[in-house]
């Protein structure tokens, strides 16, 4: 469950203009308001507990629409209400402006998928000219500095879109920050939003950042360009106090790790005028959310073979299975069954058997990609499903090894399929592959331990700027060269540099022999040659890959 705190404190058309009412009551289409739509969207996601906070003088139109409103007098009051709600919350808290126009998919991802202790919806697209929305600085998918009317950001690179999600136990720090800001509300002075220092740039070398293994953290990598809003949107500066932006600043400055969740192609806009409300509605309706979900269901960081020989069309199968109402677990099980069939054909020890087995193994691998895509597309996630998927992946591969080993001995002596007794090679291939996985798993656990233990800087909330975050001046160095000596640093620098060259990036992915390449290798070598060739290539390549990853990771670890 989630508690939504909706701030309807922004007046239409400027402070003191009584007639305008709150922006949250602006019309969304002919028969509903922004706030009503938002509450409906949230209710559809199972968020039934929504508290609406509005200024006393703006509350009348909301009462008229039948909303239950917590009335407040000023900014300090707003913040105190949020502090009380957050303090009492046992569930994740969603803080959002009442005038938000967002696509369903964005809210679903935020409410249902977020595992981060705190996340803020941001957009990398920045308009020219002075910012009309709170600016933030994002680094490595984390908000490192956030701005408000009273808080300046140095070298911002993104805009806060007005939705903040905070899960326990960080709700306590949200309450603390809100209470502290409430106490400061009278003494804070407006400041220009941006402080320019242009110290960003250069590669920040970070220990343990393993680009090869680094996934799409919190769905916010810059792989896809953010949606650029039509000019009419986001051009009106807000008049009232932006409580979500203040709370985001409070959280970030309290040292809470706030994940930056990019909007990508989805819409998440505050509408402050009737024209903006209409434009935002048009923008929402222009997005094909089904297509967005299908695109997002295809993992972006897959290997070369998976990306070019499977993902190019597997989404069609995923959509087909979704329409047939197949569950991901059924697809996973079919995939396992097909792999067993492949092993049986391999075991026959004939050329035809090897070719059929190779084709079936490829089908099993395609279905293995489809089950994940189907799960993400139809949002059918389960612990059991994840376990089945992971376990069956291993089982499929090792069953294929066994089938090949049986077939190699069963084949007629002298035939091209006959590879002799290759059981020892099969044992070795399985042991090497499992040890390679264990290297990944153990390195991953160590990486998580380091990442979890990191302390983030704490800044006072009454400081107008974030200059405490400024990095100390560095001695001038040759452009592009590693900034510290040592083999480890050089290796990390080299690794980051090669990420930017597409050819090398794919080469690095292929050399580690990921699952797609392994399955392709097994299929091809079995269909064309025999099991002995398969195992010898698997072993040599696997050992080479292990050496490559071990070297890189050891260097990273000691850097």
């Amino acid at each position: 469950m989630t508690l939504a705190v909706v701030l309807a404190t922004e007046p239409v058309g400027g402070v003191g203009e009584e007639g305008g009412g709150p922006t949250a009551a602006l019309p969304y289409g002919p028969d509903t308001t922004l706030l009503e739509r938002l509450l409906d969207q949230l209710a559809a996601l199972g968020v039934h507990d929504s508290r609406i906070v509005a200024r006393r003088e703006l509350a009348a139109p909301l009462h008229k629409n039948g909303h239950d409103v917590i009335e407040t007098d000023d900014l300090a009051d707003d913040l105190r209400v949020v502090a009380e709600l957050a303090r009492a919350a046992k569930e994740p808290v969603l803080i959002l402006s009442g005038d938000i126009v967002a696509g369903d998919e964005l809210l679903v991802r935020l409410v249902a998928d977020s595992k981060a202790p705190a996340s803020a919806v941001i957009s990398r697209a920045r308009s020219a000219g002075p910012p009309t929305r709170p600016v933030v600085r994002v680094s490595r998918a984390r908000v490192v500095s956030a701005g408000s009317r009273y808080h300046q950001v140095t070298d911002p690179n993104a805009v806060f879109r007005g939705i903040l999600r905070v899960a326990p136990p960080e709700t306590k720090r949200l309450a603390d920050a809100a209470a502290e800001l409430a106490g400061l509300a009278g003494s804070l002075r407006p400041v220009p939003p941006i402080r320019t220092r242009e110290q960003v740039g250069g590669e920040q070398l970070e220990r343990f950042v393993d680009r090869d293994a680094e996934g799409d953290l919190d769905g916010s990598s810059s792989r896809k360009a953010d949606w650029a809003p039509p000019p009419v949107l986001a051009t009106t500066p807000s008049n009232g106090d932006d409580v979500p932006a203040l709370l985001l600043t409070g959280l970030v400055r309290s040292g809470v790790r706030v994940g930056a969740r990019g909007v990508r192609v989805l819409v998440c806009e505050r509408a402050l005028t009737p024209e903006q409300a209409a434009a935002a509605r048009a923008a929402v309706e222009a997005v094909d959310e089904d297509r967005v979900r299908l695109d997002a269901a295809v993992k972006g960081d897959d290997g070369f073979f998976t990306t070019y020989a499977v993902s190019t069309y597997s989404w069609r199968i995923a959509r087909w299975t979704a329409r047939r109402r197949l569950t991901p677990n059924v697809v996973t099980s079919i995939s396992m069954g097909v792999a067993v069939l492949a092993a049986v054909w391999f075991a026959a020890g004939t050329r035809a058997g090897m070719i059929v087995g190779a084709a079936l193994l490829y089908v099993a691998f395609v279905l293995d990609c489809v089950d994940g895509q189907l799960a993400r597309y139809t949002r059918q996630f389960s612990t059991l499903g994840a376990w089945l998927d992971a376990t069956f992946d291993r089982a499929k591969e090792y069953v294929a090894y066994a089938g090949l080993a049986v077939g190699s001995t069963a084949a007629a002596i002298g035939s091209s399929v006959h590879g002799g007794d290759v059981w020892r090679l099969a044992v070795a291939a399985m042991a090497v592959q499992t040890c390679r996985h264990m290297i990944d798993f153990a390195f991953g656990a160590a990486k998580r331990r380091v990442a979890g233990g990191e302390q983030l800087p704490v800044l006072p909330l009454d400081a107008p700027d974030d200059s405490a975050l400024d990095s100390p001046p560095q001695p001038p160095r040759a452009a592009g060269a590693p900034d510290r000596k040592g083999l480890g640093q050089t290796a990390i620098w080299l690794s980051n540099r090669t990420e930017k060259m597409p050819g090398l990036r794919w080469a690095k992915k292929i050399v580690i022999l990921p699952i797609g390449e392994r399955f392709a290798l097994i299929s091809l070598s079995a269909a064309l040659f025999n099991a002995k060739v398969t195992f010898v290539v698997l072993l040599c390549w696997g050992l080479l890959a292990a050496g490559y990853t071990l070297t890189g990771r050891i260097l990273r670890s000691i850097a």
Partner: protein
């Protein structure tokens, strides 16, 4: 139930650190040897030495002679056992679990080949162990910490290596491989399937057991 108290339940850093110790899959003997050291002995150097000695002994054909074959698990145990209580928080301590796996799988394979154990049987035994080691990783990612009795009942890498070494000494190597594969297959399989099926189906949030993988996924 399945989620028992586990180390560092409230501290993510300690939790992920103790995952490394769980990945070692120490049995009762190794854990006992680790107790007097109170976690003061760093684990990496002894693991590397144990791996080197294992390689040398296996290459020297020790697996074929029953005396020296017994020597490998003892050396590995005496070297790596005392550091089993270490928190594994050194910069390179993540190397230890894969090293333990390489020692265990390598030894079981070499001894089995040398003693004439049916090769498919060796394959099955190592597949059963691999299932268990993958399962340990997947379940600790879901905070389904394996219960303490499982580490005992699974014998640990030390127990398993000693069992086959003693069996080789007594001349019952194939029987030991078959018995181990059957016993551990049932134990790991049943316990794991029960745990996972009991652990809820649809919780609606994204679960990705493979998000740390590279070579794997």
């Amino acid at each position: 139930m399945t989620t028992t108290a586990r180390p560092g339940a409230h501290d993510p850093a300690a939790y992920h650190g103790s995952r490394l110790v769980a990945y070692r899959d120490d049995g009762w003997i190794a854990q006992t040897l680790g107790r007097p050291a109170h976690g003061m002995l760093p684990p990496l150097a002894p693991a590397l030495v144990a791996a080197a000695i294992t390689v040398v002994l296996v290459l020297a054909g020790a697996a074929g002679q029953t005396g020296p074959a017994l020597f490998v698990p003892l050396v590995a145990l005496l070297l790596t056992g005392p550091s089993s209580s270490h928190p594994h928080d050194g910069p390179l301590d993540w190397l230890v679990p894969p090293i333990m796996r390489a020692i265990e799988y390598g030894y079981l394979a070499a001894l089995g080949f040398a003693q004439g154990v049916s090769e498919p049987l060796i394959y099955v035994l190592i597949a059963v162990l691999a299932y268990h080691h993958y399962d340990t990783v997947y379940r600790t990612r879901q905070k389904l910490w394996p219960q303490e009795w499982m580490f005992r009942a699974g014998l640990g890498w030390d127990g398993r290596m000693l069992v086959v070494a003693l069996a080789a000494f007594a001349g019952y190597t194939p029987l030991a491989y078959a018995a181990l594969a059957a016993y551990l297959g049932v134990l790991f399989g049943v316990e794991s399937v029960l745990t996972w099926t009991r652990t809820g189906r649809g919780e609606g949030t994204m679960v990705n057991l493979e998000d740390e993988e590279e070579a794997g996924s």
